[in-house]
Structures are given as C-alpha cells and as structure tokens.
C-alpha cells in the first residue's frame, strides 16, 4: 500500500494541469519520462522507459493506449514550487477519445512534433481538440538530435499550419534531455492556473477508472471546483448513487494517499465501489451533503465505428469473457458490447470499437489480462437499413441484414478522411482513395513539401486495409485521420460463405454490389490458403443471394506419418504432437471443419 504523503499544500495559483499530445511515435511518452526525471518525481534508479505506460502491451508495442496521470513538483526560475499535473495520452487515431478525456481535465497541452516527420494528421486532430477545450498550447519540436531533423522547417510549419508563433516553439530532444527545463518553464509561465473555487460545492470530473481486486474501483478525477476529502459521501451526478470516500490520493506515479484534492488538482478516489458501472467516465462527482447544482459538461459520447464478434474458442469460457468485458469496459469507455449468438461460433459478444487497432488491443488485453482464448470475426461498420415498411434498422452484423425483398435501401457511414503526405505520393494516395470509393474534396499544399488531401469515403473502405495500403503506397510517410460525417445510401449486397457446404454466418460480409463477385472469388481463394488441410476435402463457396459465385477446395490432408518411432524417439514425437494439438486449440470448430482466426479476418485484405 502506498505511503501516506504529508500534505504539501500548493496554492491554486501555483497548480498546473497539462497533457502531452502528439502524433503516434513523435516521442511524447519519452518526453514525459524526462519531465518525471527532471522534477525528481521518479528517482533515476527507479526509472524505466515508458514509466507511464503501465500495461505490458504498451511497453511491448512501444505505444500508449491508456491516458495516465501523474503529479510533479517543479521549482521554477521564479523561485516558486509549482505542482504540475501531467496526463500522458495515446497518439493513435483509434484512441483519440482518450485524448479528448484527458484534455477535458487540463488547462494546457504540450504539443510534440517530430523534427524530421513534421506535422501529421493526428497532430492536427489533437490540436483541434486542444483548441476546442480552450487549452493553452506549448509547442515543442522533438528529436532535434536526429540526423534527418529539420527543426527550423518544422517550426515554420507550426506557425503556418497551426498558427502558433514561431518564437514560442521549443527545440528539444527527449532522448537526450535537451529542452526539458525550457518546457517546464513555458508550462508554468504560459499555462493558466485553474480557476475553480476550492470552497465552492464539489465538482470533479471522472476521466478514467480502474478495477483493483482489493480496493474495488479506483476512480481517476480532476477536481474543478470545491475540495474532495476522505470521509465525504461522493455522489455520482449521472447515476445518483453515492459512496463513502475511503481514500483520496495522487499519482507519483504510483498511488499515494493525500488528505484532500482541491480545485485544479488531479488524483483518485477509492470509495468501496464494487460495480464498475457505478463509476462512469465522464460523470461528475459531487458531495452528497452539499451537492453542486449542475454536472460538468462531461465528454462527447464516443461512438464505436467498427463492430466485430468476439467468441471464446472454448465455449466454457463464455461467462469468463462476460466478466472480463465488464471489467475492461470500466477502463475503456469506448468499448461497447452485447451478447451475440452465431450458428457457427456459438455464444459470444458483438463488440463496438473505435477502429481496428482498438479492436486488436481489446482482444489482446482480454486474452492476456483475463487468460482467455478468443476468436474475433472480421470487423464491419454499422449500416442503416430502411425497410419497405418504412422502418429504419441499424445493422452491425452482416448476418443480420434483412432479406433483399424487405429492404428499401441501405445506407453506410461516411467519413471525412484527412491524409497528410509528401507531394511525391499524392498520385498514389489519390489512386488508392479512388479505388476505395472515395470522393475527392480538396488539396492543400503546406510548407515542407506537405500536402493535405481530403476525401469523403465510406468507413467500410477504410477499415478494409486502407491504412496499411496508405502506408505501403507512401513508403510509410502518409498519415491519416478521419471523422464520421454521416450516412449515405449505397448499392450494397450481402456476400455469404459456405465452408464444407454449411453457411458460416461469421464470414458473411456486406459489399458494394459492383465488386461483390470479384470479392467473393478473392475471399474463397484466400480462405483456401488459410484453412488448414483436414482429414477430408473441404469445399469453400461464396454466394450472393443464394447464388454461388465462387468455389475453391481445400484438399484433404494427404500424409502425416512419422517413419521412425523407436524407444528414443517417443518423447520427442509426443511433444511434437502435443504442440500441434495445442496450436489446434486456437482453431474454431465449425461443423466438422477447423477454422483458424486468420480466416475470419481474411475479408479485411482482399486486394
């Protein structure tokens, strides 16, 4: 348990709350590490890379998935000691909601731009979000020590594209510790102190929560008005439920108890909350004894953009999966799910995600943190189907598409896609976007050989491998951001897949009619390479409205026999067979055919 920290009182005027925002990989987490080191928040001997990335997955992949909070004390050149509350945020487009949550709890943001990459799509998206929240931005050009760095050009870009004065830009190298002090000075000088009144009725914004097996829910809050003390009855303004606060504390970066959190401060509360639903991200905490009159604005409700089924490969794990989703949802407000039954895959959940990376991360976290083996079906978008009887129904599962005779029309989600790319690749980007039913809108040339392209495009096209293609056709230079702008009618049909003669609902997809036959052929060809040989021949068929449009056959396994098996070979042979069998557990049995996870994802990359 954390030590109880003696209350170090900081007047509100010396408190700051900031986020670090950047495009993925521009170095914000490394910069956060430096800030922690420089302010002595983390002793050098305890320093590990990516201190704030607490999930194993984050350190392994070198990305930030969850926003993290920490409090630092900084003695500035003016002789005063400031309390800086820092929230590290993810950079990937899928996790922009985490950024938005973090920003709502801040007064300023350090904007990190890579000195060799320059401004990218998420840089712009994050800046827009920060400006929406009225945050003061401290621009930093990072990685100036790299040989390809061109800090001057990037500084000019920041002025021209974002409109921040060039002279406010700080040059830094987080890896080498250059510029750290200048950044801290700019934060205390530029970012305004919180304006909330510590004596007003309590209003604290929940920006994250986590389940602790011993303490129940740990709620991450920023107090905007009033003071949060141990012993008060905390009331959740949306749900109306109230809980006795057992502990309040701050992050240094580990949980550390304090007596209270007053206006402007960031920390956590523990109140013996057992049900994860009782601590909703975006809700406002007030004091039941002296409630605030209105809740804080909260967050823009995040809407899932892609949907997929998650099924336990072993059906006995259904209940465990259910509990795991409940716990994960607490920590990941963007995740939504509801029970789903598939004829092929059994009982599972239809889940909504913000994007493909989010989906991948959720599946991986469920498997790792909850020890499950899951099968994920191919993601789809949510369609809006108008029936002949005038009714509108949302369809997030291709198998649930009503029969063609009942359908009046189908609309699909459309996004506004922003692509930032060096001019040499503009042609490739345009060709790709055209292939993906994109409607060209605009081209803007920016300094530093940077072109910003905008397209209206079906979201379904984006989730089908578009991002990978974008990267590969631009040698990795293009970056992408997109936002949902509405729904548009389209000529779509359902493509069904039969494996071994039986339809596999989880392989159905909704496709553009003009491409349907070709997609069906490609899908069948692809599945043939992905479904391992079985004891018998397995036909794979693609069908549109009951008509078979493609057929492939996975030939039966021909030979699997070890020639020599004498006394000394037995252990090795048994281990080999056991290992193969272990591998088979990752396959899902559909009828009598064993299908690997990759087959369910085949529809994502048919080009």
């Amino acid at each position: 348990m954390p030590d109880k920290l003696r209350r170090v009182s900081t007047p509100t005027r010396l408190t700051r709350a900031i986020s670090v925002i950047a495009h993925v990989d521009h170095g914000k987490t490394t910069l956060s590490d430096r800030l922690l080191e420089y302010t002595g928040t983390v002793a050098p001997r305890d320093m590990v890379e990516q201190v704030l990335d607490q999930l194993d997955l984050e350190r392994e992949r070198g990305i930030t998935i969850k926003a993290q909070a920490v409090r630092m004390l900084y003695k500035a050149d003016d002789g005063q000691t400031y309390q800086i509350n820092l929230i590290d945020t993810p950079g990937h487009v899928d996790f922009s909601y985490e950024v938005s949550r973090a920003l709502a709890a801040c007064d300023g943001a350090i904007l990190v731009v890579d000195a060799s990459q320059g401004i990218e799509a998420q840089t712009l998206a994050n800046v827009h979000q920060a400006l929406d929240h009225n945050l003061k931005i401290v621009p930093v050009v990072n990685k100036i020590d790299l040989p390809q760095a061109d800090p001057e050009l990037v500084r000019e870009e920041i002025e021209k594209v974002i409109g921040l004065p060039a002279e406010s830009v700080i040059f830094a190298s987080a890896r080498q510790g250059i510029g750290t002090k200048e950044i801290l000075e700019a934060v205390v000088r530029e970012v305004p102190p919180p304006t909330g009144d510590p004596t007003a009725p309590l209003r604290a914004l929940i920006f994250d929560a986590k389940f602790d097996a011993y303490r129940g829910v740990v709620t991450y809050v920023r107090v905007l008005e009033g003071t949060l003390r141990k012993g008060v009855r905390a009331q959740m303004m949306q749900t109306g439920k109230s809980f006795e606060v057992d502990e309040v504390g701050i992050f240094r970066p580990e949980r550390t108890q304090v007596d209270d959190l007053s206006a402007g401060e960031v920390g956590y509360l523990i109140a013996n909350i057992r049900n994860v639903r009782d601590s909703r991200v975006g809700d406002t905490v007030t004091d039941a004894a002296r409630p605030a009159s209105a809740p804080l604005p909260g967050y823009r409700h995040v809407t899932p953009m892609v949907f997929a089924g998650l099924f336990p490969t072993d059906s006995d794990q259904y209940q465990q999966l259910k509990e795991a989703l409940e716990k994960l949802q607490l920590n990941d407000a963007a995740l939504v799910y509801e029970p789903e039954t598939s004829a092929a895959l059994g009982f599972g959940f239809r889940c909504g995600f913000l994007g493909l990376l989010h989906m991948e991360i959720v599946q991986e976290r469920l498997e790792r943190e909850f020890n499950l083996t899951l099968l994920g079906t191919a993601p789809t978008v949510e369609y809006r189907v108008r029936l002949r009887n005038g009714e509108d129904v949302p369809v997030d599962n291709p198998d649930h598409l009503p029969s063609p005779s009942e359908i009046e029309s189908i609309s699909e989600p459309i996004v506004l896609a922003t692509i930032v790319v060096p001019s040499a690749y503009v042609g490739n980007m345009m060709q790709l976007s055209q292939e993906r039913r994109g409607q060209y809108l605009n081209t803007v040339y920016e300094p530093g050989d940077r072109v910003v392209l905008t397209y209206r495009m079906p979201l379904a096209e984006i989730i089908h491998d578009y991002y990978d293609q974008l990267k590969s056709r631009s040698k990795g230079y293009a970056s992408l951001d997109y936002e949902l702008v509405g729904f548009e009618e389209a000529n779509l049909v359902k493509l069904d897949v039969l494996v071994g003669g039986s339809p596999v609902d989880a392989l159905s997809m909704i496709v553009d009619r003009s491409k349907a036959q070709q997609q069906g052929r490609r899908l069948a060809e692809k599945l043939k390479t992905l479904i391992p040989r079985q004891l018998f021949e397995v036909p794979i068929q693609a069908a549109i409205g009951g008509k078979i449009v493609a057929r492939e056959t996975v030939p039966a396994m021909r030979k699997d026999v070890t020639a020599k098996c004498y006394g000394g070979d037995v252990t090795r042979k048994r281990k080999l067979l056991e290992k193969q069998k272990e591998g088979k557990k990752r396959l899902k049995r559909v009828g009598n055919v064993e299908i690997p996870q990759e087959a369910f994802m085949a529809v994502l990359s048919l080009d």
């Binding site: 004891l535 018998f536 396994m557 021909r558 030979k559 699997d560 026999v561 070890t562 020639a563 020599k564 098996c565 004498y566 006394g567 000394g568 037995v570 252990t571 042979k573 048994r574 067979l577 056991e578 193969q580 069998k581």
Partner: protein, 372 residues
Amino acid sequence: MERIHSLYLHVPFCTWVCKYCDFNAYAVLEGLIPPYVEALSREVELAGAELPIGPLDTVFIGGGTPSLLTSAQLHQVLDRVRGIGLAPGAEITLEANPSNVTSEQVDGWLQAGVNRLSVGVQSLQPDALRFLERLHSGTDAIAALRTARAGGFSNINADLLYGVPGVNLASWLEALDAVLAAGVQHLSAYELTVESKTRLGQEVRTGLVRMPGDDEQLAQYWAAAERLVTSGYEHYEISNWSLPGFACRHNLAAWQYRPYLGCGAGAHSMFRRFDRSTERRWNIKGPQAYIKQASASGHAVAGSETLSPERALGEAAMIGVRLLDGTTAARDFPAQRTQLISAGLLAEQDSGVRLTRRGIELANQVGAAFLG
C-alpha cells in the same frame, strides 16, 4: 517399478555423419572409442546393481555405427550385459554399416553373442548413395548381407530408404528386390525424412534440394508394402516387415509399452511404475561429457519426465497403434476410437483397433488424438 527385460546400448561414433541423419552420432572421434566402451561398461554394470532389471530378453546395440567396435570391445560390453543376466534365447541385435561387414567381423560378433544383425543398406543406386553420402556401394551392401548370412547369421535385417530425390518408383522396387534376394528375414523401409537441423534440412530450406511430393512417397511406400507382403513378409509395424517369427522383439517391447533401459550417450530409458505412471529418462548427449560423467559415477542421466497414469495411457495408445496387427492400447479412449473409426482411420480388430490404409498415411493424426 516393473522389472525391465530390454536393454538398449548406444554407440555414437560414425566414420561419416550422413547429411540426413539427426541421430546422436559423431564423426572422427575414434580416439574416444576405448574410454567410451569403459564408461558404457561401467554404466551397464551399475544399472544391473541398482535397477530391477533382467533376465534380459532383448539387447539392441545401435548407433551411430556400433560395427566400428572391435570384437574385444564388443565382448567387454556384452560381458557386462551377461552380468545382468540373459534369458534363454535372448535376441541380441547389432547395427552394422555394410563397409564393416567382413567375415572376420561376423565371426567376432557371433562369438560375442550377437544373433541378429541389422545392416544399414539404405539404397543401392550409385546416385542415391552419393546423395545420401553413404561411403559404401550397392554391391558392397549386397555383399555384406551375403557375408553375414554365409558367416552364420540367420536373423538379418536391412534398412532401406525410399523417397530419395532422383530415385523413381521402378528403381526403388529394383533395390528392394535385390535386397530380398540376398535373403533377409526382416526389412525396415523408412521414408527419407527431412529433419530441420541436418544439412539436408538446410539444403531443402534453401531450395538446393527438392524432395518428392507426398503422392510419390506414398506410391513408393505402398508399392514396397505390396511387394513385401507378396514375398511372404508380414507388415507388422508402419515401417517394418518380417518373415513369420522374425519381428524385432526389442522394438516390439517399446511399441507394446514395456520398459527398457538405455545406456550410452543420449540413450533413452522408459520405466513403468506400479501406479501405472511412466518415467522417461535420457542420458547426456555428447560423448565426451558422457564419458566424463559415466566413468566418474556410473550415471549419466541428463533429464527425465514422469507421465501421470492418464498421460501414460495416451502415450501407450499413440505408440501402440503403430503395430498393424492391432492394439488394445486404445481401449481407454472410447470417444476417440469411435471418432477415428468413423473418420476411416481406425478399424476394429478382435478386441482392439488397427490402422486402416488411410490411418497409416495419417498415423500422427491418430496418435495425437490420444494425447491430452
């Protein structure tokens, strides 16, 4: 533990390690043979004193190339084996390289007590022998079989390889016929298997060598099986055929899940405990380390594993189904049995089951079904 009646002795030396071989074998270490024989003798002697072993029904001296031992060395080792006790009519097999089969050697082996000779013919075609890096010719190999027979061996096995790149079905059968004509009582035909850690494995990986496809290999296998059966040989294990009464009793013990002791570098032992669990142990692999350890202590165990009674049952079934006469080892797996029978891989046989033709081709799928 159950009493042990089978003993395997490993001799890890070869004049040349063929490129396809992944056995525990080492070339050009002849200088190590004398101390190795000492260490092996020590291990056998101590095992006889410490384990419930003997009288021995079968002894198998394998390798490597055990025919590199001199008569005196062979005598020394087999004398220690006699110390454990030999059952009347015990089967004592020696593996021999055709190059070592001379009438003097044959006399010496018989005098030392060897009564079954297993000759590594592998192939007869010059190209195939070169490809396999065998140092003998086809003529040498046939001569070796004749010399062994003329010298007094009446239980001879020949090892052959099929599915060798460049050898077609007709020339494979030609080699098989020539070997049968030399008068062997037992024949082992193995598919040339590509093991990843061998030089052949590397050549296949880099595309230097292309192996025949599954269909070709199975065609050669079934053609040989047919030829052997029409010639009066019983197909009693996936890769083994014998005239009636000449099945290799030593190997039968392992397939029937009876315990055996293995001595020598890298040798494996299998013990059965009275609670039906199985212990498997293996010795230090490297000859030098083995010599050091076994001469100092008489023991050279490098590792072991114990299988619970349930897992042991599965393992027994996995091995047992290789016996084509049928096995009762799968009786504790009714669900798997039913499933494999309906898939056409097993057929009922007396009170047990046997592999069907398709089951032989997919024997690993059958074996795996019994593992947890």
